[in-house]
């Protein structure tokens, strides 16, 4: 079987000790939450941290609180999130995103914070060491000398095989919960020894497959704050199979309509078609209008221009782009109140009832 390399292991009891350990550990240190992404990556030598700081015993990072706002600890598991009835009822986009991550067994371990910080993915990168050696590595993990932590890799090294003449890495943001939480207007708190800062979730991401986070190396994601609902929301995930698979297109949306049906507020986010989730500014064109077929189609047409899928995930890229438009319009139709049976086979599947557990 595949084996991870040797590493040191620490398991602090509180958040303060965790960020201290992270700062002291320097570039070779990584935080370990559920480990469902990091541990396989270590076996494939995509990341070879010298020190793992486990958050397993940091209780303050876990839990869901419904006050004026929804507060979620970063180490809350996806299963815990999915089983929370108020999340399910009041934040359908988040529920639907979390409920469709990977498999039930993985959701029992994987955390919402881990899903937000999920390493970007690419068919040239998510391969084991021998495979990557056979293509002479790539920009995101350029060879044996730099198999440490993404932050210390030199972007000048290596070729991006997705677009060999490109100077950047095109790995794909593959989180389900990130687009959903951005659509819901979530803010995240980052803690370091220097203190806390809170930023809108969309500001956590860079449009770069390698440096995909604005998180500083000494910062730890501690919590997610979601404003009280009062909006309808949903998340559509495209993937080959009903389990296991990462999204190849994800569309999250939350809207508020006036009693007359005019759009008062709308946030629509594209996931899995770029190196970060894309919060669409085209929602401006929806403001004050009723969601007629024409308005929806016009929006979907305009907004799908932002989807630039490349040949580095499952499915053909031009097909993914075509479906992106279908999804954008489908999501708005669902939120408009259309009967799911009118949304086509793919739409019906995308908005089908999901079991809270499995």
């Amino acid at each position: 079987m595949m084996r991870a390399g040797l590493f040191r292991y620490q398991a602090p009891r509180n958040a303060h000790d965790a960020v201290s350990a992270l700062a002291d550990g320097g570039p070779g240190a990584m935080l370990l939450a559920g480990g469902t992404d990091l541990v396989p990556n270590m076996k494939r030598r995509q990341q070879m941290p010298e020190l793992l700081i486990s958050l397993r015993h940091v209780r303050e990072l876990r839990g869901i609180r419904h006050d004026a706002e929804l507060l979620i600890g970063a180490c809350t598991t996806l299963s815990e999130l999915v089983r929370d009835s108020r999340v399910r009822d009041e934040y359908p986009a988040l529920f639907r995103a979390a409920a469709q991550v990977a498999t039930p067994l993985i959701r029992n371990t994987a955390t919402v914070g881990g899903n937000l910080l999920l390493d970007t993915r690419c068919n040239y990168y998510n391969q084991n060491y021998d495979w990557r050696q056979a293509i002479d590595f790539c920009k995101k993990a350029p060879g044996p000398a730099a198999v440490a932590v993404p932050d210390v890799i030199n972007a000048e090294d290596g070729v991006c095989w997705v677009a060999p003449s490109s100077s950047r890495c095109w790995a794909v943001s593959s989180s389900d919960t990130a687009p959903a939480l951005i659509a819901l207007g979530a803010r995240v708190t980052l803690l370091s020894r220097a203190g806390e800062r809170e930023i809108p979730l969309e500001a956590l991401y860079h449009d770069d497959g390698m440096r995909y986070l604005t998180r500083r190396p000494d910062e730890m994601l501690t919590s997610i704050r979601v404003p009280a609902s009062g909006r309808s929301s949903t998340y559509w995930k495209l993937r080959r199979r009903g389990a296991f698979d990462f999204p190849v297109v994800g569309v999250a949306a939350s809207i508020r309509l006036s009693p007359t049906g005019a759009v008062e507020e709308a946030r629509v986010v594209l996931g899995a078609v770029a190196s970060r989730p894309i919060l669409l500014t085209e929602t401006e064109m929806l403001m004050g209008k009723a969601l007629s077929d024409e308005v929806i189609e016009d929006f979907a047409e305009q907004a799908s221009r932002y989807a630039k899928p490349l040949d580095n995930t499952d499915f053909h890229m031009t097909w993914r782009k075509a479906v992106c438009k279908t999804y954008l319009s489908g999501v708005l139709r669902e939120l408009r109140g259309d009967d799911p049976s009118t949304l086509g086979l793919l739409g019906r599947q995308a908005c089908r009832q999901l079991a809270p557990t499995w």
Binding site: M1, L345, L346
Partner: protein, 836 residues
């Protein structure tokens, strides 16, 4: 050799499989579960280049790494091997050349897996990179460098050609001639269990290899050959396989390497492959491009078929010569084809070797044939079910290519699924976006010839009965999850009148069990089953004699049932089975019997006629109902009805499981599975790698993608089958892929002439249709291949005798191991074909 009666106690009744308990509670010990004291671990250094000469392999740094006990390289293995006698082209470790990414170059044996892994990085390899040959078309064009120094020419491994009657004349006389190109993408077996092997020296000094193999007998032979040891000093034990599907039926380099390492170190040595390495082992479905031409009369009756196949074989021979013949062998066994021509070509490419996957070489042309029949039906305005029903091959007949058909339940299979699915109300009548498709197929119940040519039995069974009442059954057959242990126990229990749990099974162990050739070609139920019947009937006779003598019951009245042996006319007059065995042991001493099985001689006497013959053929018909989203091409399979001609169900629980497993695997091939390779831009890189060697990205359906399956068994006892049984392990997969393609056409009117049938392809075809172009996605060209002169074999109805009119009769010959070849053996013919 049928049991004759239909009034069974065990056969045909649903039972828990005999190995089920251990598997459910995790007690079954698979190869990787074996742990021995002082065991070492082995890892292989694999080539990073698809095609290169090895200039130097320097292991000196690695030898001094912590924990390292031994490093082996190609120099330690001077002898090649391979599953077919004509394709001894594999090396345990590469000596001068690597032929694909993943080819093994060196083996590190260390105290732990981690230490072995770390030492791999310290081996220095100098490569001289050669041109990469990435697919069959390129292999035809690029004759130098050659991947192998043998084969028909350049990078062509094998060309075959045969013609049964004057096909051109029939085509010219046909009312319509349909010509289509099809492509079948490669895919792999994806067993849940990765291959693993442990070698050690037994206390008697023999080399012993435990391995997750489907063919311990062939591994045994490969070890004897490569290690230059007498076979009796080698023992191979097949551990229960966590899935095989054909992927564990070659001898593998890692098995030979750990065997050698155990002999040198004197310690047990284990290897367990990673999932990526399993993708390198491959031996899966060949990617095949096909040109299929069929001439029909106005009523749709076939007058002739002309088939050309081009196979992308990968880097080694494996079963490939047989696979090539199989792409043409079974076209004739379903519908009557009066004249038939088949030409096949297998190429070498720098990719993992293809070989036998469930259906071995036949799903690809079956896909083409069944899709083309659907096109013919639509073109002629006939119902596809009727088109098939009107020309089913008669029972107990011989086909144009001299395959002998015994029973055939295809008509009943079609009628069942047509009725069950409501076909007559649905075909061409469902709303746009919904569709229904039909396809049929057939498969062997065991290859009529062994892999190496001999007149020995194909399967043997020994029984030991003693005073405890226990019956021990010894057989070389290998349990790969298909239920062969249960088949053997059920058969012996039926004959001896005892419960299956009163039988102890010792299987798949070359030291202890009589030879069975292995779990491939759907041969075990029929062949080992018949051997078990013979052994059990002999044991019953011994016991019956003793009981009859003691109690004064005439032999003809003695019944074995309910774990008793008694008088049919006075059931109280009798003894328990255990007491009966005691009487028999008292009367005639220790009780042991044997049984063996050899298939009937095939009438096909021409070159290549050795591939295709079988004691019997199973038949299947499937109807698939789908929904297609016209705006995205998204495809959902909603329901599958399948009828399977099984002759006689032995255990309905297992038989149904095999059907559903076959449908599942077929849907994977139809919808998503691809053993696809990624070629980097040649101006930048030589790389040719498996696109996604992982269970996450090699897409295979999950339970959530599985539709409802309605299964019908057609039971008409097959005279050659044990209790009339036929195979069920492979056949039910075959009709699924073409049925899906035909259903997609019924739903939205586009033809996808290749698998997998993905949403992208459907949407592309729909767009072509909108633009007024041919609503089809599929290959657009078949390359020009210079075919050898075909063996001309008149079909039976044209006065032939199974021989080619343009071939010389061949002489008898003796192979190295002293096994005699009969001059008339069709195996002889195929060997000659292959040797050329």
């Amino acid at each position: 050799m049928s049991g004759g009666k239909r009034d069974f106690r065990i056969i045909g009744k649903p039972r828990r499989r005999v190995d089920g308990r251990a598997k459910v509670i995790g007690q079954t010990r698979f190869a990787d579960d074996l742990i021995f004291p002082r065991m070492l671990h082995c890892k292989l250094l694999r080539s990073r280049y698809p095609h290169a000469l090895l200039r130097e392999v320097d292991v000196s740094r690695a030898l001094s790494a912590p924990g390292v006990h031994l490093i082996l390289t190609g120099k330690d293995f001077p002898i090649t091997y391979g599953i077919l006698p004509v394709s001894q082209d594999e090396e345990p470790l590469c000596r001068e050349k690597v032929r694909m990414v993943g080819d093994p170059i060196a083996a590190v044996v260390a105290a732990t897996e981690e230490e072995a892994l770390a030492a791999l990085d310290l081996i220095d390899v100098e490569y001289e990179v050669l041109h990469t040959i990435s697919d069959a078309f390129e292999a035809l064009k690029v004759t130098e460098p050659r991947i192998h120094q043998y084969g028909d020419e350049g990078n062509v491994h094998k060309k075959v050609a045969m013609e049964f009657g004057d096909v051109d004349a029939s085509m010219a006389a046909a009312d319509h001639v349909f010509e289509d190109l099809f492509f079948y993408e490669g895919n792999t077996h994806l067993p849940i269990e990765q291959h693993a092997a442990v070698a050690l020296l037994d206390p008697d000094g023999k080399l012993c290899l435990y391995s997750s193999t489907q063919t311990p007998h062939y591994v045994h032979r490969a070890l004897a050959r490569t290690l230059e040891m007498p076979p009796h000093k080698i023992r191979v034990v097949a551990t229960p396989n966590g899935g095989g599907f054909g992927g564990k039926s070659d001898p593998f380099n890692h098995e030979i390497v750990v065997a050698k390492a155990a002999m040198i170190t004197g310690r047990p040595v284990k290897i367990c492959l990673t999932r990526e390495e399993v993708f390198y082992c491959h031996r899966g479905r060949h990617p095949v491009t096909m040109r299929m031409k069929t001439g029909v009369k106005n009523d749709g009756s076939i007058v002739a078929m002309d088939l050309e196949t081009l196979l992308d074989g990968g880097a080694f021979g494996s079963y490939g010569v047989a696979s090539t013949f199989y792409t043409g062998a079974l076209q004739t066994v379903t519908y009557h084809i009066p004249r038939y021509r088949f030409r096949g070509c297998r190429t070498f490419t720098n990719k993992p070797a293809c070989g036998p996957k469930r259906g071995h070489g036949t799903p690809q042309p079956r896909f083409g044939q069944e899709v083309q029949l659907d096109k013919i039906a639509v073109a002629l305005g006939k119902d596809p079910a009727d088109l098939r029903l009107q020309q089913i091959v008669p029972a107990h007949s011989i086909t144009a290519n001299w395959m002998r058909i015994e029973t055939i339940g295809l008509r009943e299979c079609i009628e069942k699924v047509v009725e069950g699915s409501g076909w007559r109300e649905k075909w061409q009548k469902l709303p746009y976006g919904r569709g229904i498709g039909l396809a049929c197929s057939s498969y062997l119940c065991g290859a009529g010839l062994p892999i190496y040519w001999n007149d020995l039995p194909h399967s043997g069974v020994q029984l030991k009965l003693d005073r405890s009442g226990l019956v021990t059954l010894f057989c070389g057959a290998t349990e790969i999850g298909q239920g062969s242990d249960d088949v053997l126990a059920g058969i012996a229990a039926e004959i001896l009148g005892i419960e299956p749990d009163a039988i102890k099974l010792i299987t798949g162990d070359t030291d202890l069990t009589p030879v069975d050739l292995g779990s491939y070609s759907s041969r075990v139920t029929l062949m080992a089953g018949n051997a078990a019947i013979e052994a059990a009937e002999r044991a019953r006779a011994i016991v019956a004699n003793a009981v009859g003598g003691k109690l004064g019951i005439p032999l003809g009245r003695i019944v074995f049932a309910g774990s008793r042996v008694f008088d049919a006319e006075d059931p109280d007059r009798g003894v328990t089975f255990q007491d009966a065995v005691i009487l028999a042991e008292t009367a005639s001493g220790t009780i042991g019997t044997t049984g063996s099985y050899r298939p009937p001689v095939s009438p096909a006497k021409y070159k290549g006629g050795g591939v295709g013959p079988s004691p019997s053929y199973s038949y299947s018909a499937a109807i698939v109902e789908v929904e297609v989203d016209p705006s995205t091409g998204w495809l959902s399979v909603d329901r599958v009805w399948i009828g399977h001609d099984i002759g006689q169900v032995l255990n309905p629980v297992l038989a149904r499981g095999q059907v559903e497993g076959g449908v599942y695997m077929g849907l994977g091939e139809a919808l998503m599975e691809e053993q696809a390779m990624r070629r980097l831009p040649p101006r930048l890189s030589h790389a040719l790698v498996h696109k996604f060697p992982s269970m996450l990205e090699y897409k295979s359906p999950t339970t959530l993608e599985m539709p409802e399956i309605i299964t019908y068994f057609i039971e008409e006892p097959e005279p050659n089958g044990p209790f009339g049984a036929k195979e069920v392990g492979q056949g039910p997969l075959l009709p699924i892929m073409p049925a899906v393609a035909n259903a997609v056409f019924d739903a939205v009117g586009v033809r996808i002439d290749e698998v997998p049938i993905t949403p992208e392809k459907i949407l592309k075809a729909l767009r072509e249709k909108e633009l007024g172009r041919s609503p089809r996605v599929g290959p657009t060209q078949f390359p020009t291949i210079t075919w050898p002169e075909a063996s001309k074999v008149p079909p039976p109805w044209e006065g032939g005798d199974g021989r080619a009119t343009n071939e010389k009769p061949r002489k008898s010959k003796v192979v190295a191991s002293g096994i005699r070849l009969a001059p008339e053996s069709p195996g002889m013919n195929i060997e000659e074909t292959i040797k050329k």
